[in-house]
Symmetry: C2
Subunit: 481 residues, 2 copies
């Protein structure tokens, strides 16, 4: 594997592309969204075939993908995302005159993106990581996920059509097929400036370690999933037992549980546990098993279930039935909080529709749970307004453990917007400062640079006195447009 | 070394302090600035004695320190730094209603700060790292630099006076004395959430590796210095030979060269090299040797000079004279670009007043130099307006290699403001996304969190509908106040 020519071309493409005006970058992304949509009839059946996901879901995911692309297109066309900051000169300052200093975000350079198996479109070839990197100004070297090679190739073709139409260098995007060795070689290449990954903890952590061992360490934005606990409280459960059970099971089993944000852990007060269990048992009856993404994922799912079956602390409400090795059949087990607290293995994510219902007895137990809880993408709190007022200290602790804290609804269904944070403390990600969903995702692929006393005609448009882009800027400490 | 009680107390202090309103955090910081100033008569002589730096410099540094404190005090009193972002709900959206999502920056938790030897005040106990962490809402566990223990203790006392006056828990700031073992134990402690460091490459890289090997890796913001090259061009040199030589030598030798941004490398065109060398030789005559920070630093300086004296490629304009082991005597050597390009050791920072003057013959050589150049805190370009127009490609490359690009003046004298970027690509720092000087330094110690459908009365003030803090917020993608 000699990736030198690919990286050299990407670096050359970078030195051109980083200076392309935001309006042109945005137009290029919009073209890509159009091309993807006009290829819907080809893309969707490929992704359905390779992911086992239903057509409705894949159709929706393509819409989500183009929606994301348009969000970033609009952001870079508008331009304020670069955080332009201007401290004007003051030649009359004593004892020393003050220099003119201007700062903005500049793209990192060529970056590596790894595709995710569970989102063959929205977190793969033209997914959130690729698009936020391209929007920031970084060429992307994309390592296709081996679970959906045809889909990936087809989407890569669409990206190259858009590049061609924009007149940009084709090395702006490179599609690499291969396995672990190829992925490692990409991350090790000296020209690579960052890595984005969505997938398992083992995979993400390995890339993180590899990137830190480079002669020049580079940031790894690995979103490695979590168990996304739901904390439930007595009054809320008493009032909405059936509706909450229904919402929980629907979120747990959505897409055969193959979401980074599906709730694999629910904390239920002892007095309400029996009623809640009854309601979820009813709900579980309606859930048919369905094919998982690929046999490897199904195998891993059943292996984990089998391990947990060996643990006496668990009482099974429903046991997964591995009669079809590809099908993911929902599983649910109950455990006492006192047992759960004793072994961190009970916090391990099982990718698929498995959840643990942890029955707690007291407020003290809840606090202990929270203190021991690992970092999460999301935590959901189901409590009455009155109960919440009694849980302010707990909420204060819960904030420390997640990237998104929900008070209604379920953690699945991650909104793509400006305020979304899809990331969280380790081990849910390797960088709690980043998000892989929403507008702020672009910031992962840019770094600040300051220009001191740069002549006006050389300054990037974002930093010129006359603000030709009409963007929001922090001038002398105040926002202005 | 059992640091558990210290960290447990710091974590408790954190859970209180993170919710303290910005106005109170700001008032606390202002009190600290006042206390430091009222202790000037005690602090300055201590720092002079322990650093060998002249009184004028230390007096100025105390002013810089309180200036920094007031900048962060004003920022947290104003409050917009938290990047409040609100995507309002849309219950009527189809097919699914849109949740209310609000995002802001929340402090990380207890952080470790390592003091720097070369700034006993401005980058030490109450220096930029400590203050930006406290401003963000993080308790600080501070590892004092062994070169100035008395100064450090005195400043720590001032911080505790300010904490007492504010009525905050004393564990908000903990002063730790010790060596490498203590430093490592602090970084390894599971409650620590980030590390800030200013110092040598060896020290910073060791902490970075240690933090990444933790069970929960944490970010390390290590500012490890650089050689801060100056690129000079023929016309500019012809016109301003003597003034530029004077500026270069003044910047090189300021504070006995003990600044992270002192220019240890200057690229000079062959045709102008002789005249420039003549002028710097004249300037060097006026520079008296002066005591370095401590004997260890002086020893390391002379060891490096000795190594470079063994390299035949260098022709010495002035050789350092180690007759007083504590004094740092300026040294300057010339080398051909073709030789310089052959060995990366010529890019190694020598902490002290040593510079290499690299004589280049052609534009091609300059481009090759730029491509091979390691990441820098600063790069300075001395060129005529006309010459700059011919160097656009070179400038494009130089941007990739630094955190701050200067077109006038010298890299020493880092302005504390909103637009300053004091950081840069590896190996100058371990995180090119961070800055250790200026307003943005606060962002290193906070991470984003999103609240979904959180009841109004539980939301932090920064995110409430009525914007009680009157801060700038991104609402539905547009800035508003």
């Amino acid at each position: 594997m000699n990736f030198d020519p690919i990286f050299t071309a990407a670096q050359e493409a970078f030195l051109f592309y980083k200076n392309v005006p935001g309006k042109e970058k945005g137009a290029f992304l919009e073209t890509l969204a159009e091309i993807l949509e006009s290829n819907r009839a080809e893309i969707v059946p490929l992704a359905v075939k390779e992911s086992n996901l239903p057509e409705g879901r894949i159709n929706g995911e393509l819409g989500r993908t183009t929606g994301q692309i348009r969000l970033f297109a609009n952001m870079v066309k508008e331009g304020s995302w670069v955080e332009a900051t201007i401290d004007p000169a003051d030649p009359s300052r004593t004892p020393l005159p003050k220099a003119d200093i201007r700062r903005f975000l500049t793209p990192l350079g060529p970056v590596i993106v790894f595709g995710a198996s569970n989102f063959p479109l929205a977190f793969s070839t033209a997914g959130g990581d690729t698009i936020s990197a391209l929007a920031a100004g970084c060429p992307v070297i994309y390592k296709a996920h081996p679970a959906h090679p045809e889909t990936s190739k087809k989407v890569a073709d669409c990206i190259h059509q858009a590049i061609l139409k924009a007149g940009f260098p084709s090395a702006l995007f490179t599609h690499i097929e291969g396995g672990i060795a190829e992925g490692q070689a990409l991350v090790k290449h000296p020209i690579a400036k960052a890595v984005a990954f969505t997938g398992s903890h083992v995979g993400g952590k390995a890339l993180f370690d590899l990137a830190n061992q480079r002669e020049e360490p580079i940031p790894v934005y690995a979103e490695m999933g979590s168990v996304n606990p739901i904390f439930t409280f007595p009054k809320k459960l008493e009032k909405e037992n059936d509706a909450l059970a229904k919402a929980f099971i629907a979120s747990l089993t959505l897409g055969v549980g193959q979401f980074c944000t599906n709730p694999g852990l629910i904390f239920v007060p002892e007095a309400q546990a029996k009623e809640f269990e009854k309601a979820i048992t009813t709900e579980l009856n309606d859930i048919a098993s369905a094919p998982m993404l690929h046999p490897g994922i199904a195998q891993a799912y059943y292996d984990s279930i089998q391990y947990f079956q060996s643990r006496e602390e668990l009482r099974w409400v429903k046991v997964a039935d591995p009669k079809h090795l590809i099908n993911g059949s929902t599983a649910l087990a109950e455990i006492k909080a006192s047992s759960w607290l004793k072994d961190p293995v009970f916090q391990k994510e099982v990718f698929g529709a498995f959840a643990m219902m942890v029955v707690y007895q007291s407020q003290d137990e809840l606090l202990e749970i929270t203190k021991k809880l690992h970092g999460q993408l999301t935590i959901t709190v189901w409590a009455d307004a009155e109960e919440l007022q009694n849980q302010l200290f707990l909420l204060n602790l819960l904030e420390e453990k997640c990237g998104r804290l929900l008070f209604k609804g379920v953690p699945t269904g991650v909104e793509v917007g400006f305020a979304m944070q899809h990331g969280g403390p380790y081990p849910s990600t390797t960088s709690a400062h980043g998000t892989s969903v929403g507008a702020h995702a672009i910031k992962r692929f840019a770094r600040p640079i300051a220009f001191q006393d740069m002549p006006q005609d050389l300054l990037p448009d974002a930093l010129r006195d006359d603000n030709p882009l009409g963007i929001w800027r922090l001038v002398n400490g105040g926002f202005t447009k």
